[in-house]
Point group: D3
Chain length 282, copies 6
Amino acid sequence: MNGYTDYIITSLNELTDPQLDPACAVPDRRRIVEILKAAQVLLFPAFYHYEGMSQRIALAFLHDHLCDEILRTAELTGNCGNAQEQTNAFIQCLPQIKKVLLTDIEAIYNGDPAAISKAEVILCYPGFYAITIFRIAHELYRLGIPYIPRIMTEYAHEKTGIDINPGASIGEYFCIDHGTGIVIGETAVLGHHVKLYQGVTIGAKSFELDENGFPVKGGKRHPDIGNHVTIYANATILGGTTIIGDHSVIGGNVWLTSSVEEGTTVSYENTASRRKRHEEEE
Amino acid sequence: MNGYTDYIITSLNELTDPQLDPACAVPDRRRIVEILKAAQVLLFPAFYHYEGMSQRIALAFLHDHLCDEILRTAELTGNCGNAQEQTNAFIQCLPQIKKVLLTDIEAIYNGDPAAISKAEVILCYPGFYAITIFRIAHELYRLGIPYIPRIMTEYAHEKTGIDINPGASIGEYFCIDHGTGIVIGETAVLGHHVKLYQGVTIGAKSFELDENGFPVKGGKRHPDIGNHVTIYANATILGGTTIIGDHSVIGGNVWLTSSVEEGTTVSYENTASRRKRHEEEE
Amino acid sequence: MNGYTDYIITSLNELTDPQLDPACAVPDRRRIVEILKAAQVLLFPAFYHYEGMSQRIALAFLHDHLCDEILRTAELTGNCGNAQEQTNAFIQCLPQIKKVLLTDIEAIYNGDPAAISKAEVILCYPGFYAITIFRIAHELYRLGIPYIPRIMTEYAHEKTGIDINPGASIGEYFCIDHGTGIVIGETAVLGHHVKLYQGVTIGAKSFELDENGFPVKGGKRHPDIGNHVTIYANATILGGTTIIGDHSVIGGNVWLTSSVEEGTTVSYENTASRRKRHEEEE
Amino acid sequence: MNGYTDYIITSLNELTDPQLDPACAVPDRRRIVEILKAAQVLLFPAFYHYEGMSQRIALAFLHDHLCDEILRTAELTGNCGNAQEQTNAFIQCLPQIKKVLLTDIEAIYNGDPAAISKAEVILCYPGFYAITIFRIAHELYRLGIPYIPRIMTEYAHEKTGIDINPGASIGEYFCIDHGTGIVIGETAVLGHHVKLYQGVTIGAKSFELDENGFPVKGGKRHPDIGNHVTIYANATILGGTTIIGDHSVIGGNVWLTSSVEEGTTVSYENTASRRKRHEEEE
Amino acid sequence: MNGYTDYIITSLNELTDPQLDPACAVPDRRRIVEILKAAQVLLFPAFYHYEGMSQRIALAFLHDHLCDEILRTAELTGNCGNAQEQTNAFIQCLPQIKKVLLTDIEAIYNGDPAAISKAEVILCYPGFYAITIFRIAHELYRLGIPYIPRIMTEYAHEKTGIDINPGASIGEYFCIDHGTGIVIGETAVLGHHVKLYQGVTIGAKSFELDENGFPVKGGKRHPDIGNHVTIYANATILGGTTIIGDHSVIGGNVWLTSSVEEGTTVSYENTASRRKRHEEEE
Amino acid sequence: MNGYTDYIITSLNELTDPQLDPACAVPDRRRIVEILKAAQVLLFPAFYHYEGMSQRIALAFLHDHLCDEILRTAELTGNCGNAQEQTNAFIQCLPQIKKVLLTDIEAIYNGDPAAISKAEVILCYPGFYAITIFRIAHELYRLGIPYIPRIMTEYAHEKTGIDINPGASIGEYFCIDHGTGIVIGETAVLGHHVKLYQGVTIGAKSFELDENGFPVKGGKRHPDIGNHVTIYANATILGGTTIIGDHSVIGGNVWLTSSVEEGTTVSYENTASRRKRHEEEE
């Protein structure tokens, strides 16, 4: 219609990349967020009322739209699974997800002197919000569905500042307080009764590079955290072979790139253990 | 209606907890956010226009919906105050809240070389946004209203990454720059002319545990910060007996769990004072 | 109409400041966010579908509403440029913005072992989201338009926890991973192939104060980062004269207030270099 | 809060009537309209996409919300049926409703020289829209549910100007053309293959009055229309004992208050038959 | 920006008329509809819940937005009244409006054998809906406010097919059944206990023309209808000097352009009286 | 997923018709309404502000979405024209449409003693609303586009009760007053300066039937109305060979199925001419 308009649009569209010019529709982020909200209605109907959905409506909504989005991602990756089966498998996991979330609520309520009731945990705690979304996304990740789990956890990241990769394995009674800035990597494994404060990173140390200097995709890159471990604010634990033993306490701002035994307390002030680690790492 | 649907929903609803099965409606987060937006219209009508509300509409909206939400929380806690009186008391605080916010605007404008006008502070500074919501929530906290103040500050947390517990006491001319990752605990007390940068924690050191190993609820757990104190990015100040004297400067990344006197500058590089603290703390 | 309502509103409105009582409408944050979304539709139409906009509609939307918002800011600052010319100049930059964003996508895809495709970068990476908005805002900043660029980057800040001042200069192939808590100041200059992890600050050391004790507005206050530099999580680099040489690696949690030469690796553990910096800085 | 506001509201609320001050919530018109839209999605999913609902979501939506609204009306009338059973009974009627609607589509398509396809009947014909809603409402009426059926047909009335009382009985292959101004009363009975043009009234002649001069509620008040009857624009047929025999044609503007035999053509111009009717009626 | 776009828009905008190029904003139809909805919330709060408005919010909404719209119309006509005073005067009429509406509800309930309760009148009867809006609009018309009353009654016209000019005077106990197609002119006067069926016109006979052949604006052009008059479907009563005496009944489809005395029954079939009228009118 | 849900949905979907099971998407009624609103913004920007659209946005919106909807209808009918060319041809008609609408405004303003300004005609007159939509739809009809024109005029029908087939030809200075119930058929031709009141039908007399008893599609079925003709309320004019001569006046409720010469006044009371017509028609 218009010379100038057409010129600008053509100039923009000439700049592209086959991967960014998919022949099919990409997953719909807005819909995936709605699927999450439907799941929350199913899990805790007294607390979530997305668009006045009842549980029955939420289940039908989740069923049909999740199936559609799985189909879209399958088309995009050219790697068709059985969307209907995957959807049903996910729905069957919902009671198990709720069971674990009830332990998380208990852990958060017991873990914060400021919490006045378990209801408050659902109503107010961004940590619980992020854990809920992670546990939903993790089941989809386990079913081998691409993109959707990550879109879900990035939505939680946006809302809470808590960035948990859907590939991480996290045990029961998981407690996050404040939470902003937490990063948990794809191959991290956390036991039961783990408690994290804001700014904690459970990340990768450095990447193996291929012959072109690019990181090698895949591989175990993130630490294992044992049971009953508390990690204080802004601590950083890195590396795929780093193992934090059960009942350890990692102090605030601690930088940890090697394993510690069961029952260890690592504090920022503990210069002796730091020097030891330095020697080990050099 | 449907065997399978009913089975899933029943399986989910069997998993519950009396505290998560309230007999009454829980506070409505969406409404509480709207109450906040109505309050912003009242405070700075040139800058906030939520749904085209005039101040008169905003006041009527705030009055009736705040009263409703207070009633809901009272029902939930079984602890009925006088919602009508609490609402009126809050409304009477609004001019005082505005008066203090004007000092905060001045402090933020004067504190950032990049700020070009006071209008920019309202339009662009997440720090000011979070402080506004905190000051509103704090008045409701002082009136003894549960849940609502925390839902408000968690909304600010979501939008800004700044997590100020509504119980904290914060003086005039409060300045936050950047702000992401700031955490201020429930029993913290901050004086006038305090300036905080991103990632600062004013938190609890460790919790007193009861005979079951759970944190004891309540008690003074967070520091006191004096007047004219500046705390640089990612500094951490912990503990209910920690007092930062007036006119102190706490450097970036500093980890501080004991008091400092008036006029002290604590810097990350200052290894002498660090060693001193280590000795004190060991 | 009402004694009490009028009393409260009058009490609120008496408390004001000439700068907060503008004679004209202030920029409309909601509209500016829509302009951003229209720009995203223009740049990557397969991935962004704001309100079902086609590229042609997005271009008309962006054209007319950006022009209006520029006029509003010009009125507010009393500093009228030519809104129509500035709008057209911005639109002409869009292909160049896309060209650079394609390099950013490549850098992010190559930089993360967990990334499975370039499409995932657009769909899931908050780092890419923040960079897109920064690059749009930066062009408007360069055209001398006040307020709007900052409102844009603060929107990205809200969504991602990544706070890049629109005045910063950032080269091609810019990669952010995780991102929460990143702060990049107004006068920072970053080269090509820079990679940042969460919590990195590229900030100001301290401000020059005027005779009244207020920071002097303007001036070069933030570091220069060379090409092919990687900065790990929570590192802090401060000061307008600090220069990080090409091909340097700055370790996690490092605190750096002086320059380092090309090819330097600064690690938290590297106590020798730290001591050297201490001496230099004292 | 406010003298004047409270005065006006009190003055308004003092003026009431026990019937207008129900102790329970009244049926929700907006929700009932959504139920209709969900039913349309179920019936013709290629043509109706209310809020992107799939049939499964529409069924769950219809199930739960219809049940809720039936409960509300039961509370209002103090006449509790079994809402769950009534809802299920209605859902089981849906295939039968569709079956009849398919005959209506055929009748409308065959009856209008301007119709180019059956798809056009669903897309464009207000007559079909009103018939659809009538057939849904009629099933609920038959189940003894008050208020809801009438709210549904009044919604159709609003959208099309066609006012069919949900109590009317209407056979298959029902065709309405143009439709504005059609009125069909509660106790009217229409056969198969009836065709009505705009402005046709099938109404009551006059009401029996009780001792207070008020119409006696209930009773057969509206005509019976046979099979294969066509009634042209603005014709009026009145009275509970009026029977229009099969295969009759009633001309435009005709006023008819007595029965006609099978195969009669009554035209406005036919003064002979008119005179005869006059004599009969006098 | 674009040759072609600019050409079309310029071609369109060149075609104009000073009256269609107002220097100020025209009344906002959407807002005026919202004002109506706020008024309905005030009048019958159990039945209308526009956007969850309480009565207090509705009153504030009505107050501020009505005042704004009155100002807009005053600017448009260049005929400034006192918008604030007019608004307050209207608000003071609300209890009187409700008082009369309660009589209308009673009349409709008593007048329809199908009505099961007064609640049904508010929930389902388009006649009551149109009367409510008429009575609101009429008060604004009486206050001398232009445009707004007509926009209101045209909204009712759109929703119900009932077109009552806001200038008409209508007594208490006004009953409309079905209603589609009713037209009541600006200078019509209806007494108490008037009942109208669908398609009734109370209109103008012919207009006095000025020297240019245009109708002379203003003047009494529509009939007076006495008390306790019933007018059946599609009857037409025309002319500014036509007076229908009390307790008359006008039959369906009757065409009446001259007065009838108290207690007259005019029926379509009554050819004697018709002939008489013919003679009178010829 | 669910036996019962699947059973109901399957039962519904088994009942179908190839024409109601299109392989492609049907035209989107909601979008077509938005296209109309965009056209109104283009034509009278001071009066229509759909979603805050500027004329430029409205033009881009209209261009892209009209083109899409034309493509959809082409797919549905299997009768592909050139959607892009048809869209451009329509856009080029817009100034001509506006030119004629300005004559319509003049005619309505001059034709109603109650009209106080031309602005009121746009703001309040449903007749003008319906004419606007008719004139838009008629241009699309002339371009041979199926479905869309009819969806547009049915939208006007819904809003105003005025049902003008998009195929009708209507001259300049067209005036409709009140309008509810007007029907104008597909092959009607109206001259300039025609004025219609509510309830007027310009329709078909009877349909030619094919060998199966179905109306033959197509053919001239509706009257021709000359210039400067006024037709009063509820008059009915039928038949493809009926011609109403220039400067005729057709009285209210008149039923006319044969032609009248130039300058004729046909009134309901004129029994002589009626008898004459009866004789002609018998």
